[in-house]
Symmetry: C2
């Protein structure tokens, strides 16, 4: 700890070091409750994320009940959680110069996350190229499971030129959202981010984001595990699909062979951390009532990476991840509402 | 009940009858947690609503932590609650043709509320006259109390020409937001709304909205009680200020003298309904943990008016009000999240 007074964020550090710098799709979430029947009717697959165009977005939005809007974006949620825990986080993502873009920028800096140098893009309303801040329509079922339909908006245009390389190079961990693999310019940005990270001796973490995202990019994701990525975040379904394994245990064995650090979530069954010394299973934090699972994986990653950058052992990292996930699924929305530091302290994990 | 199939909202009625038509400031709420110290530092008074200009709004917003955005507006919340209960509601308010205006319009119609004929106003960003959809910055203290700072935006321009008189004339109750008294054009709109309501044999309900609002317009509000208003909604502090009474009991006696129907809320002490046969006290619905009191009064009015338009007795109306208020204070935000019909049924109030 430094005795030099900090200015700005309480998480700021005078040497510019950041625990995690994340790159992701900057989105505003639009949440509403729904039924499983409605999800089927809309052609969405429960529990997954679909990319939709503007016309589809208007259709889905039109069927949604009263909504709640909140800053989202998978990797952005992770940095918000990390900052809430007291970690130092940076974020790179692209928004438009519109009301929801302003909300996104306010919220991320209000959490104490350092936003990469960006120029919000002037929104366009040309027919067919209507570009605003991206949004994620989130339909929350009665059992708390969320189904997402994302219209990327200007996030779709994120490319290598949008990377704030100075910010990236300050991260101990550079955290990449698998969702970005869906767009060619973002793929190039991620490849460049990996170069910058490794040039700065940072660890590279990748989250697989979504089972369908894994199906779309399985080969590239597997290639990244050989030399590009150091830490893999995935849920049970994603990691099993990635390795085309007959079971979760098979996927765990496959990760062990790669030598990567794997943080694998299994919903209410907790998580498994795979390290050089073998897998460690950690039970989930009990939750009285699951309200909305949006952000569960993102907040798991926040807790895990906070622990990792504090030098904690893998089991403690996994418990921190589970604790943060339990907070975010106990209310509507993907950003923490409770004081995460207090929760960590109450759980004896600080 | 009609056996003619309805189109559109499940609450629609083929004869065009509406239980309640409300007029209010159409606002999007921007909520964040805060501390009492921060509220004082900002010069706000805990538990009250302050009107702020755009520069002040930017200052307050800049100090706020991560936010949640949700459609709000006191009377709009009431119509949303009424619709959630199965009532037929209409709403008149003014938004800009911007992203938050679109959110407001989506949400109110998603609740099944019939929106008055309006043309969203083209937003202006001329310095000094910057006009967008109005917003209410809501700072939620640790004890759940909310403190509000409202920038009216285009809602400030609501005047008699914005009244959809056909919609108004279809209401059994026309519900008016006291907050509107702060703007001269809106005062004129309210006076016209009262004329239209009485011309259509509707009851006129007024909510006093806020203690400072009462202080600002005490004389006019008292004048309205003589012939203009039939039902008065107020909390303990507001009604006591209105009648300049030495105590709540004094205010109850003063309402009795007017002969109006009074629905007076007292927070955790429940509510008192004042009728021609005297006052009836009803205890509050127990709430395990008060998360955020935003919308408590609005949802009380929703439950009360739903009961009233169903022909229920005053005590049952007050219990319905208390039940709806208890739902909205148990989570973040001013719109109901649980299924109000189920709650009513579980409480044996249907």
């Amino acid at each position: 700890m430094s005795d030099i007074a900090t200015t700005g964020s309480e998480n700021a550090h005078e040497d510019g070091h950041l625990d995690v710098v994340a790159v992701g799709n900057a989105l505003v979430d639009v949440l509403a409750r729904t039924t499983d029947a409605e999800i089927s009717r809309l052609g969405l697959i429960k529990g997954s994320m679909a990319l939709i165009d503007l016309a589809q977005s208007k259709t889905v939005y039109g069927t949604m009940g009263a909504t709640v809007e909140e800053s989202g974006g998978s990797a952005a949620n992770t940095t918000a959680g990390l900052a809430a825990l007291g970690g130092r986080a940076g974020y790179i993502g692209k928004v438009a110069d519109d009301q929801l873009g302003a909300v996104f920028l306010h919220d991320i800096s209000a959490m104490g996350v350092e936003m990469g140098r960006i120029t919000p893009v002037a929104p366009s309303d040309e027919p067919g190229a209507e570009r605003a801040t991206g949004h994620c329509l989130i339909l929350v079922s009665e059992d708390g499971e969320r189904t997402m339909a994302t219209h990327l908006g200007v996030a779709e245009t994120l490319g290598p030129d949008d990377l704030d390389e100075d910010l990236l190079a300050r991260g101990e961990v550079v955290y990449l959202e698998g969702y970005l693999w869906d767009q060619a310019p973002a793929q190039a940005a991620l490849r460049r981010a990996i170069e910058v990270a490794h040039g700065a001796d940072a660890l590279v973490a990748l989250t697989l984001s979504d089972p369908f995202c894994v199906t779309r990019h399985r080969r590239e994701f597997l290639d990244l595990l050989h030399g590009d990525v150091d830490i893999l975040f995935a849920n049970e379904e994603e990691v099993t699909l990635l390795f085309d394994a007959p079971s979760f245990d098979g996927a765990v064995a496959a990760i062990e062979e790669t030598g990567l650090l794997g943080a694998l979530t299994r919903g209410s069954a907790g998580s498994v951390v795979v390290t050089a010394s073998g897998p460690v299973a950690v039970p989930a934090e009990p939750v009285e009532h699951v309200v909305d699972t949006t952000g569960a994986g993102d907040l798991y990653a926040a807790g895990f990476l906070f622990g990792l950058t504090q030098g904690y052992d893998p089991e403690r990292c996994a418990r921190l991840g589970g604790l943060c996930a339990s907070e975010v699924i106990s209310h509507f929305g993907a950003r923490p509402q409770a004081d995460l530091k207090k929760l960590v302290s109450a759980a004896g994990l600080d």
